[in-house]
Amino acid sequence: MTMTSENVTISSESQHPRKLRSRASSVRWARRREVMREVLRNPLTVIGVVIITLFLLMAAMAPLLTEANQPDPYQSPRDWANIDAAPGVEGHVLGTDSTGGDVLYGIIWGSRLSLQLSLTVVISTLIIGTFVGSVAAMRGGRIDNFLMRVVDVFLAIPELIFALAIAAILGPSFRNIILALAVVFWVKYARIIRGEIIRVKQTDYVAAARVVGDSTWNVYRKDVLPNAVTPLVVQATLDMGNVVLIGAALSYIGLAQAGLTEWGAMVSAGQSGILAGQWWVSTFAGVAILLWALAFNLVGDGLRDALDPKTEGR
């Protein structure tokens, strides 16, 4: 039993109802801040947040950091004079690849692609998954049964393999990788949210809302969803990283356009040079992928520890 420091006591002059309303929202914000503080107490989480912030800055300021290549900024500018240049060569801090593409440029503009990939995939699948899972859990019965069988079919195929097949069939392009991952990822969310909603539906506070006579939609909106969403948030955070990992694997295999400043494609491009001792292209691109995934994993892990009721108080 804890009495938190955020007890906002209402002094007598603020008991006027109109003031109460604004106090209510400030109490809610105070609570959110408190939760954030709880999340950020873990130093590993803070490291994750810092890395993510740096990546975001990098993506936002890409045109300022390096001059955008024309016409397609997502193709490295070719410096044919400096092929396979080692890091530190004039103008190429991290070296160049076998076509004279600047590694640093690739990493900076690649962060934009990664952001685009993870945001598109995670947000769209989050919406689809939440919708399907909610319908299944709230309706139950046949609808639930049917939707869950569909989910079973999707889950029967390991996600990378599924995405691989789709992307392969759609043809090599970064856009198709995004599409393929979106087709694959919603299932997980549908399943998570369904399980959580079924759990929450059995709680006494949902029963209490029904005793009061509130509508199903209101119960869903006020009681069920807010209390079911935590594991979904955690998973989505983790997936912001995972999506990039899988996307990179797909481009590594060769499912993105050639020469794209995508990190996985860069690892692949640098691979042939490794035997000749040109380690830098693959290594730096790989480090970028690793850091991206690591950052989101750290934050997701921290969120899970701080928010998940199952591990609460540990």
Binding site: L44, R149, V150, D152, V153, F154, A156, I157, P158, E159, L160, I161, F162, L164, A165, I166, A168, I169, L170, G171, G241, L245, A248, A249, Y252, I253, G254, L255, G264, V267, S268, Q271, I274, L275, W279, S282, T283, A285, G286, I289, L290, A293, L294, N297, L298, D301, T311, R314
Partner: protein, 337 residues
């Protein structure tokens, strides 16, 4: 016992799910047009192509094509693999054996390492070993397998030359019989120490690379279930009986912590099958992954479909096994609820 009924139900559901998988995969492949290209040669005339389409019934509506394909599947005909220049069914066994061998060794690495690390972390919670194990597991989950493979190749292959690339040294490989298709097993069966050493040398590096990511998943699950069981009252009760701490951890805490971990081990097998694609590419391991990659790059639809079907089937069978193991490990479980 309910386990048998549950098993029957799950097995009955299996073909249905496989049917669903096949429909999805088939529809996807036909989305992008006729797969006639795989049979065609560049110099064919449109008429010849049409004849070819007719021959493979590619001019029929898609549901009919699917029916023919399914009928073929039931008779064991998975079509023609363009990349292997052979019927899919002839090649798939060899490829599967190679991948399974790799996945099994990787699983061994992941399970043994994962359980050991997870146990230590769970017991010594919030102390140095715990922090290390947690960071290690997050690192494992964040490392791109293909990149990690490359990273290990540089010192161990390029510089030190400890571990060779590929599945075997062909000259040694050919000296023994291959009843199981698993090189390591076959070499042991044939009591050929040279082959044994060869098989081990080849598999270690790819197995470690592949197992690393899966181990991360197992470590975190094992850790959190150890933390949970360590705070159970029966652990205190075991201490109150006067049992030594080692026994308390082994017999009372770890035994029960393994139950939820079993599910994750099943899931991590999916991870292994996926990761195998990249690892096989890097280490030139002639398995399903390498096979499917070349199929993808040359638009060989029959091979892609066969690959997806076979991996899904393995994945489902493993999850089924895990569920049943779960029922035996945890006596309280009522299956299917």
């Amino acid at each position: 016992m309910q386990v048998r009924q549950y098993l029957i139900r799950r097995l009955a559901l299996l073909p249905l799910i496989m049917l669903g998988v096949s429909i999805i995969v088939f529809t996807l492949t036909r989305f992008t047009g006729s797969p006639v290209g795989i049979y065609a040669t560049p110099d064919m005339t449109p008429d010849e192509l049409a004849a070819l389409e007719e021959r493979y019934r590619l001019d029929e509506p898609i549901p009919v094509q699917y029916a023919y394909w399914l009928w073929g599947l039931l008779r064991g005909d998975l079509g023609w693999s363009g990349v292997s220049v052979a019927p899919v069914t002839d090649v798939i066994g060899l490829k599967l054996a190679a991948t399974l061998e790799l996945a099994l060794f990787a699983a061994l690495v992941a399970i043994v390492g994962g359980i050991a690390l997870g146990t230590i972390a769970g017991v010594r919670r919030n102390k140095a070993p715990d922090h290390a194990a947690r960071f290690f597991s997050i690192l494992g989950a964040s490392t791109p397998t293909f990149w990690f493979g490359l990273l290990l190749l540089i010192p161990f292959y390029l510089w030190l030359d400890w571990f060779p690339i590929g599945r075997s040294t062909p000259e040694i490989f050919d000296t023994i019989a291959h009843p199981t298709g698993l090189y390591t097993v076959d070499s042991v069966v044939s009591l050929n120490p040279t082959a044994m050493w060869d098989s081990i040398r080849h598999i270690i590096l790819p197995a470690v690379v592949l197992g690393f990511g899966a181990m991360a998943i197992i470590v975190r699950m094992m850790r959190s279930s150890m933390v949970e069981t360590m705070s159970e009252e029966y652990v205190d009760a075991a201490r109150a009986k006067g049992l030594p701490e080692k026994l308390v951890i082994k017999r009372h805490a770890r035994r029960n912590a393994l139950v939820p971990t079993a599910t994750v081990i099943g899931l991590s097998f999916g991870f292994l099958l996926q990761g195998a694609v990249a690892v096989e590419l890097i280490f030139r391991w002639p398995g399903l992954g390498q096979w499917v990659t070349s199929a993808i790059l040359s638009g060989d639809q029959a091979t892609i479909m066969a690959y997806v079907l076979i991996t899904s089937l393995i994945f489902m069978l493993i999850n089924l096994t895990v569920d049943i193991a779960y029922a035996y490990l945890d006596r309280r479980v009522v299956l299917g609820s």
